[in-house]
Structures are given as C-alpha cells and as structure tokens.
C-alpha cells in the first residue's frame, strides 16, 4: 500500500465521520454542552478535596500534611513536651524548671535573641508563631525526663544556621550558660 492511498483513505474516513457528526448534532446542543462546561468549571474546585488542597498553610505547603508532633500534640498541659506550643523547642522547658511557659525561672535571664517557629494549635486549627527564648545564666536545668523535649518542626540543618534550633540562643545576654527555654506566643501566622 503506497502512502498516497493511505492518505486518501484517511481523508475519506475523516470526512465521513465529520459529516455524520454534523448531521447528528445541532449547533444548539454544542452550545448547551459548552455552556454547561463553562458553568461547571468554577464549581468543581469547590469540592472539598480540591478546597483542602488549595488552602494555604504556613510552612506546611499547599496540602495539609501534619507533622508527627502535630498528630500527637495537646493543648491542656504546658509542662509536657507534646504541648502544641513546644513544636520546635529542642531543650528543657522552663515550666518544668520553676519558670512558666513564657517566663524564666528565678535566677535565669531571658536572652535578647530567640528562635522563632510555627506551631499548629489543635484547638482552633490555626498556625501561630512561637518565639523560643532561652533563659541563660544558670546551669542546665536538671528537670526530670518530662521536661527535656526534642521537637524540631520546620527546623533546617546547620548549614542554614538561622533556621537551626540546636544553637544555644543566649546571644545578647551576659552569659552563654543555658538553663531552659520558654515558648512565647507572637501572633497568628499568615502565609502567602
């Protein structure tokens, strides 16, 4: 079979098909379908799955992926490591050392610099900015196992030093001796 004949056959077939299509469908039906598609397109993204994906969550990306910490966090007891505000604390919580959730224990001074993280509040399902401020100038707090936390949500490795929370953030205080860490609430995060 030579290529010209193949092309002829294909053309004939295409012509026959399109003529049949033209006979069977009216222009009006095409308009109806096109109209329906136009109306349906903006409605479809309202389906819950798509909407959840489109929703913006700070640092969590477009789709909502809970971290291991967020899956197990609670909002009742701030002296426990899984309290929601301790999502990136990596240290001893001051609440277990005679201080409060945002206050240093007696004898320790709050550092002037801090490490700021983003934590999900399970009560209202919103992300909050939390400043982890070290209390310095007193030996490491010897809190029981309960007070020693190791959560690292949204932390980056040491080659991004400003995003790493292993550092002792006592800069600005008179001493670099680390005692414990507080979790101060700054505000509700808005991410674009």
């Amino acid at each position: 079979m030579n290529s010209n004949r193949t092309a002829d056959t294909a053309a004939t077939l295409a012509e026959r098909l399109s003529r049949r299509l033209a006979r069977r469908t009216s222009r009006r039906s095409l308009l109806t379908r096109l109209g329906a598609a136009l109306v349906a397109a903006p409605v479809l993204p309202l389906l819950p799955v798509t909407r959840a994906e489109a929703e913006d969550h700070p640092a969590g990306g477009k789709s909502r992926q809970l971290t291991d910490f967020e899956k197990n966090s609670q909002s009742k007891d701030p002296t426990k490591c899984n309290y929601w505000r301790h999502c990136a604390i990596d240290g001893v919580i001051c609440g277990a050392c005679g201080g409060g959730i945002h206050t240093c224990p007696p004898g320790a001074q709050p550092a002037l610099t801090s490490w700021i993280g983003t934590c999900l509040n399970p009560d209202d399902d919103r992300y909050y900015l939390v400043a982890y401020r070290d209390c310095c100038g007193k030996d490491l707090c010897g809190a029981a196992q309960d007070g020693l936390c190791f959560s690292n949500d949204r932390e980056l490795p040491v080659y991004r030093p400003q995003s790493n929370n292993d550092t002792i953030w006592c800069f600005g205080s008179s001493t670099m001796v680390y005692h414990c860490t507080t979790s101060a609430l700054i505000g509700v995060a808005t991410e674009k």
Binding site: A59, T113, I116, A131, G172, A184, I186, V188, T190
Partner: protein, 182 residues
C-alpha cells in the same frame, strides 16, 4: 496606559499603602502596650493574640529571632533596626543595600512577599530615622535588585561607606509628623 490599567495600578498602590499602614499600626500597638505584649514574653495570658500580615509573618520566621520581634534585640551583636533602619532610605545606595544583603536577596520567598517584609521593617521600625515621603518597595524593584546580591562584599565596610554619604538630617521628620507624646 489605558484607563483600566491606571485604575488597576491605583488600586494596587492603595492596597500596598493600606497593608503598610496596618502593619505599622499593629507594630505600634504592640510596642506601646507592654502589658499586652512583652517582646521577651509574647502575648500575655488571656489577651487577644494579634493576627500578623504575610510580611510580618515572614519577618518573624526569618529575621525576628535575631533582630527582635519589635526590631530591637542584642545591641552590639545584631544591627538595631528600630529607630535606625530608616536612615538607609535616605539614599538610593542605602535602598539597594538592604535588598542586596545575602539573607534578604536569597530569602525563600517571592518578590512580592519580600517587598512586604521590607516595607514592614522600614515603616514599622524606622520611626524617627525614616525620611519623609519614602516610597514603599515594589515587587518589581525588589525582584530586580535581588538578582544582583552582595556575595563577597564586606557588608560592614559597605554600610559605613553608604552612611558616610548620608545627610545626617535626612531622617529628621517634620514637626507635625513626629509621634505624639505618650
């Protein structure tokens, strides 16, 4: 420019000004009310927690730890932004210097968010150091400048050189623009 394009540009400018004004007001409210918001302790228990703008959020996440939640932290270790940063707006060189700082230029946010962060810093922390009629950064301006970051430059020397050429009176506000006495 068509009338429609003009209207769109005007609306964008208005939105930018509104965002900046809202940011400034939020920062002032926080700075002025230490009972409700202590920069070392955050929002007091039982007080409403402020909702931050996108610019503020990124400032807090990427700059505020060291530079301070209210633009002031460990003097001597970290450049003080509050009452200081506005002086860099006196000259074009200062305006470009900020965007070309490595941690600014390479920040993991797009041009428009970066412009919002910078406008938050300048207008909320500039205070008396901020000259009159400073134009907010636009995404276009930031996008252009951050493509030529200062990489192997001695930033301290560069800043000294820029400040040496800055008129010391540039940042002085007119009397009527000064903040009212508390």
């Amino acid at each position: 420019m068509t009338p429609r394009a003009k209207a769109v540009a005007a609306a964008r400018r208005a939105a930018l000004v509104l965002t900046v004004v809202a940011g400034v007001m939020a920062a002032r409210a926080r700075a002025d009310d230490p009972a409700a918001f202590n920069p070392l302790q955050g929002s007091a228990q039982g007080t409403p927690v402020p909702t931050l703008t996108a610019g503020e959020t990124h400032y807090m996440q990427s700059c505020g730890g060291c530079h301070g939640i209210l633009g002031s932290s460990a003097r001597g270790n970290v450049p003080e932004l509050r009452g200081n940063v506005g002086r860099l707006m006196c000259t074009q060189a200062g305006r470009e210097y900020i965007v070309r700082l490595p941690n600014v230029a390479f920040a993991g946010v797009d041009d428009s968010v970066l412009a919002e962060v910078l406008n938050y810093v300048i207008f909320s922390f500039g205070d008396a150091s901020l000259p009159q009629d400073v134009k907010p950064y636009t995404a276009e301006e930031v996008g252009k400048l951050r493509r030529e970051p200062n990489k192997n430059t001695n930033l301290w020397n560069l800043r000294q050189a820029i400040m040496a050429q800055t008129d010391p009176d540039c940042g002085r506000p007119k009397p009527e623009a000064a903040r009212p006495a508390q």
